[in-house]
Every structure is written in structure tokens, then in C-alpha cells.
């Protein structure tokens, strides 16, 4: 064989392979196309079922009741309802919304855990069932108002409140004592900043504050608290336009940016979720943070934490306009596609019952008002109940609009641009407001 023959591949082979490669390219690329949704496909007629059979339930892995709590509750439920079999599934909070949407047409899950920001979307798109008619009147008086809002959209209930939660302010008493910071000074954000500066200058801790500011809903929860404290509003009064790009909304973001610039906040905050905050706090590497109820329980668990007994839980610090908490409650809903609506409702009734909620109050406080004076509940978590009785009175909601998710994503991205220093607070929020107005109008 000559050299020339070998280095010159047969042109026809090349042409063939080229065409085949293009075909391959097309086929593989098209593999990405979305299926799942149909035009003129089957509707969502669902029979009630007869209160027996198997139900699938979708829960989240972090915050609120732990996986072990939920499995124990489910076991207790099956003890009294042997004819209903429950299969619980647990996913990360970040995957909960999308999984619920994607599974809706198939009716994979009978019971889904929904966040306070979803009833507008899930209700208007008929992903979850309207259960208003099943609500006993008594519930409306016996549950906290903030909890009831969790499942409410346009005067209809789309679920039963189950996790009544807000972000509390956590402080490390040990680190504060080392820096000579008085607990009373933490009543306002100004006081917290002064305390943080003092800690930093005394070298007690490198970054006194840590936050869950990654590009996720967690960022919106922290921003909501600050927006409320600084007197801002998300939307105009008629809900048609963004209003967070003036007054308190801008002041809140400027505050957030300042804590990063002055190195008072841990730089990892912009990549952190609540679990990351919990880890940093549990290692004693930060003194102050906002987080959900569950962090208190875990921070006092010697297996999970090096700050057992050193953490205080309290009301959020106040800004110029008060000290509200973000409403981070969640509800259990019957999915509209469920073939077993009755059994699903029976299961939800059981999980949300006062008995069950009181029993696991350590990880998530009950939605029932009378639980907060029940000595057994107070005993499980005296400090949390004390903080809750103040905080739960003033909670603010994120916008209850069907396309909140799209608005939130825009805001997360723009807020991060400000936190990372590529835009001023005003510019970032103006850009977010412009995008939000388009989304709200669509």
C-alpha cells in the first residue's frame, strides 16, 4: 500500500459519514424536545375513589417536619386506616414545584406538599383540587391566619396548612459574649450591623452574618423579610405593577449589598441555601442568620452541631418599618389528577390534625392556635414557641399571582447582579421591575 492511498480516505465514505453524522446530530438534538404536554388531550376527570387503596404523596426533604417525622406519622395513619396504603416520596424543595407540575397530567401523586407561593398558580391551572367545601367552619377560627393564607387563593382553599413557618433570627450567645455584644442590641438591623462590626473588629469571627442568597427562592425569603422591615412593597395596590423598585424595596437590597461589601456577610452566602446556612451556624462560623424553625432543633443536636445550647432564636430585627417575618408556610393538597381523592383527603386530615402536629412540634410548630398554650407543646420547644408567639402575628406574603414563579426568577437573577456588584440596587430592581411588569401583563 502506498502512502498516498492511505492518507486519502475514499471521498464517498466521507460523504456518507457526513450525511449520517448530520442525521445523528438532528436526532440527538431533537431528543431534547419537550413532550409531556398535549393539545386537545384528555382532561382531568378524576373519580373520588372509595377511601381505600394506595396513595402516593410527595414531600420535601429539608426544613419543616423531618423525613423521619413524616414516616412516623404515616405509620400511625396506616395503623388506624389499614385499608389505605401510603407511598411517600421525598425530594429537595428546589425540585418540588417542577416535579409537581411534570407529574400532574399523569396523576402520579395523590397528595402534594405546596408552598405558600403556589396556590395561585396550582389553583388557577387546576393542578390541585379546590377543597373549600371540605373545610369545617371551625378551622377558620382555630388555625392561625398566616397559616390559612398558605392554601388560599381568591377565597378558595387549595389545601390544608401543615407547616406554619417563618424565618426567625438566630444568634450565637457564645460569640456575642466574647465580643461583648448585648442581646438587647439585636432588636434592630442597625443594632445587628453594629454588633457584627464589633465582632469582626475584635476578631471573634471572620464573617458574623451568613444568608441563603443563592439564585433560588431562599433568596426571595430573606429579601421579603428585609423589604417588609424597610417598608417596601412587592406590587402596586391593584397587583398589576411591580413596586419593589422604590423606597423600602431598594433600601433592603442596598442593606444586603452593604453587608457583603463590608465583609460582614460570609461571601459564600450568594451560593448558599438554608441548609448551607445551617451548617455554617452549626460550626460556630457565623453569629447571626435568618432561618426556619428546623434549624433550632438541629443546632441543638450534638450529632449535627458544635453550638448545642449556644444558639438563641428570636423575632426578626426591626427596620424603619417594623419587624415582620416572611410567611414560609406550606400546605398539603390533593392533586387534581388523583384517582383517589377521598383517601388522599383522609390522609391529609390525619397529618394536619392537632394531635399529630403537637407530637412533632420540635421541627415545625402547629398551625393550630390553641397548641401554643398547650404545656406539652411548649415543653418540646419553649424558646421557639416564645419566639413564634411574637413573630407569627406579623407575617408578609410574597405576591399571590399565578405567574409568581417567573417574577421570582427574574428578581433572583437581578438581585444577585446587585449582590455581586455588577449593578446598583436601583438599577437591578428597575430591570427586575420592568421584566416583572411584562410577566404580570402577559
Amino acid at each position: 500500500m502506498s502512502h498516498h492511498d492511505l492518507s486519502a480516505p475514499n471521498p464517498s465514505i466521507v460523504a456518507l459519514s457526513r450525511r449520517r453524522l448530520l442525521g445523528l446530530a438532528g436526532a440527538t438534538g431533537i431528543g431534547l424536545t419537550l413532550s409531556a404536554c398535549g393539545i386537545g388531550g384528555g382532561g382531568t376527570s378524576s373519580s373520588g375513589g372509595d377511601n381505600t387503596g394506595t396513595i402516593n404523596a410527595l414531600f420535601m426533604k429539608q426544613a419543616g417536619f423531618s423525613e423521619a417525622d413524616i414516616l412516623a406519622m404515616t405509620k400511625a395513619f396506616q395503623g388506624v386506616n389499614p385499608k389505605i396504603k401510603v407511598n411517600p416520596t421525598f425530594v429537595a424543595y428546589e425540585a418540588l414545584h417542577d416535579k409537581t407540575v411534570a407529574a400532574a397530567p399523569a396523576g402520579t401523586y395523590d397528595v402534594v406538599l405546596i408552598d405558600v407561593i403556589w396556590p395561585a398558580e396550582f389553583g388557577s391551572k387546576k393542578i390541585v383540587s379546590d377543597v373549600t367545601s371540605k373545610y369545617p367552619d371551625a378551622w377558620k377560627g382555630e388555625m392561625f391566619g398566616g397559616a390559612l393564607q398558605t392554601a388560599l387563593y381568591q377565597d378558595k382553599y387549595y389545601g390544608v396548612p401543615w407547616i406554619l413557618d417563618t424565618k426567625y433570627f438566630y444568634s450565637n450567645k457564645d460569640l456575642m459574649a466574647k465580643a461583648g455584644v448585648e442581646p438587647a442590641s439585636l432588636a434592630s438591623w442597625d443594632g445587628v450591623i453594629a454588633a457584627a462590626r464589633q465582632m469582626k473588629s475584635k476578631g471573634v469571627v471572620d464573617y458574623p452574618l451568613v444568608w441563603s442568597w443563592s439564585q433560588a427562592e431562599a433568596l426571595m425569603c430573606d429579601y421579603t423579610q428585609l423589604l417588609g422591615a424597610f417598608g417596601g412593597k412587592f406590587l402596586s395596590d391593584d397587583g398589576s405593577k411591580a413596586a419593589f423598585n422604590s423606597g423600602g424595596g431598594v433600601a433592603a437590597l442596598e442593606f444586603m449589598q452593604m453587608t457583603l461589601k463590608d465583609k460582614l456577610s460570609n461571601p459564600s452566602s450568594t451560593q448558599a441555601l438554608e441548609e448551607d446556612v445551617r451548617k455554617v451556624i452549626s460550626q460556630g462560623q457565623a453569629a447571626f442568620a435568618l432561618n426556619w424553625t428546623y434549624m433550632f432543633g438541629m443546632a441543638n443536636d450534638p450529632k449535627e452541631s458544635q453550638v448545642v445550647g449556644k444558639l438563641a432564636i428570636g423575632q426578626t430585627p426591626s427596620g424603619p418599618a417594623g419587624r415582620p417575618g416572611v410567611n414560609g408556610s406550606m400546605a398539603l393538597a390533593v392533586s387534581a389528577g388523583s384517582k383517589n381523592q377521598k383517601a388522599a383527603w383522609t390522609y391529609i386530615e390525619f397529618l394536619t390534625s392537632q394531635d399529630q402536629q403537637n407530637k412533632y412540634a420540635k421541627d415545625s410548630l402547629p398551625v393550630w392556635k390553641s397548641s401554643y398554650t398547650d404545656p406539652a407543646v411548649i415543653e418540646t420547644n419553649p424558646q421557639t414557641v416564645a419566639a413564634a408567639s411574637k413573630q407569627l402575628d406579623s407575617m408578609i406574603l410574597r405576591p399571590t399571582v399565578p405567574n409568581y414563579n417567573a417574577v421570582s426568577q427574574k428578581m433572583q437573577a437581578e438581585i444577585q447582579k446587585c449582590l455581586l456588584g455588577s449593578k446598583t440596587a436601583q438599577q437591578a430592581l428597575d430591570d427586575a421591575a420592568k421584566a416583572a411588569d411584562d410577566i404580570l401583563a402577559s
Binding site: S17, I30, L32, D98, P267
Partner: protein
């Protein structure tokens, strides 16, 4: 086919049975191809012309090409496309260069070559989800191994938030992708290298060509068919990148690692804009076809010039 027809003329009944058998045997692949490839493709195309905003069936307003025009006029789409092109070109380029080097190493007659080959295939054998988690924990600002190593070697004094800035995060996700996929490229090219007869190199050496000259005049031109296959495959894969982004950064910070597939997913499943998402998916296909055609054209003209 012609064989079949000729047989049909001779023995009609047997041939009919044979044809029926052929149909039965073909049926599974027909079902697969039409059921899970062609049908979803056409369905997606149809949906892309409607304003579909729920996962359920129903009647939706027909919007014609509105989804496509609003995508093409959206600054987010162009920013995401530029970012994805950067990801694709840099990761594929690095994988190719490193892959060629690695392939040359793997074909070299070294002692323990089998061990080397087994080791090299390991990163590719890891599921992407594991790879993503691995690199995310390495780059973690608070507990990451990279910060620990650098501070213990006194290279840096303080911890860095590696995934904290958009451009840096994008490059580090590329690094994670390159680490995983270079092995695949290397193995493809190794297969190509093994088809090149050794005696060409001997002949070249007799003619006075050095190692560098042999590489550029023999190895590289003869590798072009393998390179083009692996280049097209990797370009498609890189352009569709989703899982490693989902695991490492979820598109953050400040959307700096949001690639087109991730953006499409968010539009479709998080925002429930299924029509818009479907249109985006079709645009991705078009971009990938264009990229592949361009690559193949370039490679083909290179091939001709090598003659």
C-alpha cells in the same frame, strides 16, 4: 429487497410469510421510532405554535410564530445562547486537545498500559450527577477541598468563593465537564489511532520526518474521521448541557451559568410556558444542526487540503 422480490416470483406463499415475518420483526422498532421519537417531535412542533400554559390537555390560543419571535427578540435568549456557545466551544476544544494528547499516551507502548487505560475511563464512567456533586464540593467556598489545599500550601491566605462570580463559575463548570468527557474523546481517538498502520511512521522516519512532522502530516490527517465524529457528538452534548449545571450551580450566580437547555427547562416546567419552551427546544435543534454542518464542512475542506 430485490432478493425478496425475486423470491416472491418463485414461491409466492413462502415469500408472503417471509414479508409478514419481516413486518412483525420491524414492528417493535417502528413503535419505538414513531412512539418516542417522531410523535413527541411533531407534538412539540405543534405546541410551539400555541400558547400552552398548563401541563394538561385542553384548548389553547393559536399564536402562530409568536413564541419564536418573542424568543428571538428576548435579550435573555441571546445572552443564554452566547453563554452556551462559549461553554460548547471551550469545553469541546479543551476536550479535543487533551483527548488527542491522552490518546497518544494510551497508544504508546508503556508498561502497565492496561492500568492506565482503565484509570482514564473512570471519570467517564462516573454518572454526571456524581461528577457534579464532586466538583461542587471541591469548589465549595466554606468546606471545599480546593480552598483547603491552597491555604495549606500557602498559595492563598483566605478562602475563595470559587463558584461565586458568574464568569468564574461558568469556567469551573467547564472544567468539571472537561474532566469527565476528555476520557470519552480520548477513547474515540484511540480507536482511530489504532487503525493507522505503524509502517507509515517507519516510512516517514526513513524519509527523515521527526515526531512533530509525523504527527501533523500523518497522525492528524488520518485522525480526521474520528475527530469529526467525536467533535460533532461532543458539540451536541455540550450544547445541550443540563445535568452538570443543575447539580453544580442551578444556573447561578446571577444566571451566569444558565445555559440554553437549562433556560428552556425553566421556561417550560418552572414557569409553565410550554409553548414557549417547545419553540426554544426547536431553536436549539436548529442551532445544533447549524453547528454540526459548519464543523463537518470545515473538517471536510481540511481533509481535502491534506491530500
Amino acid at each position: 429487497m430485490t432478493g425478496l422480490r425475486r423470491a416472491a416470483r418463485k414461491r409466492p406463499t413462502g415469500a408472503r410469510m417471509e414479508a409478514r415475518l419481516a413486518l412483525v420483526l420491524l414492528l417493535p422498532s417502528v413503535v419505538v421510532v414513531f412512539g418516542i421519537v417522531v410523535y413527541p417531535m411533531l407534538r412539540t412542533l405543534l405546541i410551539s405554535f400555541f400558547n400552552v400554559d398548563t401541563p394538561f390537555g385542553g384548548r389553547f390560543p393559536f399564536v402562530g410564530l409568536d413564541n419564536y419571535t418573542s424568543i428571538l427578540t428576548s435579550p435573555d435568549f441571546w445572552a443564554t445562547t452566547r453563554r452556551t456557545l462559549y461553554f460548547t466551544l471551550v469545553s469541546t476544544g479543551l476536550e479535543l486537545v487533551l483527548g488527542i494528547g491522552l490518546a497518544l499516551l494510551l497508544i504508546a507502548p508503556l508498561r502497565g498500559r492496561w492500568l492506565l487505560r482503565a484509570l482514564v475511563v473512570l471519570p467517564w464512567a462516573l454518572p454526571t450527577i456524581v461528577n457534579g456533586s464532586l466538583w461542587r464540593s471541591i469548589f465549595d467556598a466554606q468546606y471545599g477541598a480546593l480552598n483547603a489545599v491552597l491555604t495549606q500550601l500557602h498559595v492563598t491566605e483566605t478562602y475563595h468563593a470559587w463558584l461565586g462570580t458568574p464568569f468564574m463559575a461558568l469556567n469551573l463548570v467547564i472544567l468539571a465537564d472537561v474532566w469527565k468527557n476528555t476520557s470519552l474523546v480520548a477513547f474515540f481517538l484511540l480507536a482511530g489511532l489504532q487503525t493507522i498502520p505503524r509502517d507509515i511512521y517507519e516510512q516517514a522516519r526513513v524519509d527523515g520526518a521527526g515526531a512533530v512532522r509525523s504527527f501533523f502530516s500523518i497522525t492528524l490527517p488520518l485522525l480526521v474521521p474520528s475527530i469529526s465524529i467525536v467533535l460533532v457528538l461532543r458539540t451536541i452534548e455540550a450544547f445541550k448541557v443540563f445535568d452538570i449545571i443543575y447539580i453544580m450551580t442551578r444556573g447561578g450566580p446571577a444566571s451566569g451559568t444558565q445555559t440554553i437547555a437549562f433556560y428552556t427547562y425553566l421556561q417550560a416546567f418552572s414557569d409553565q410556558r410550554f409553548g414557549y419552551g417547545s419553540a426554544l427546544a426547536y431553536l436549539i435543534v436548529v442551532i445544533i444542526l447549524m453547528l454540526s454542518a459548519l464543523y463537518l464542512r470545515l473538517l471536510r475542506s481540511n481533509e481535502m487540503s491534506a491530500l
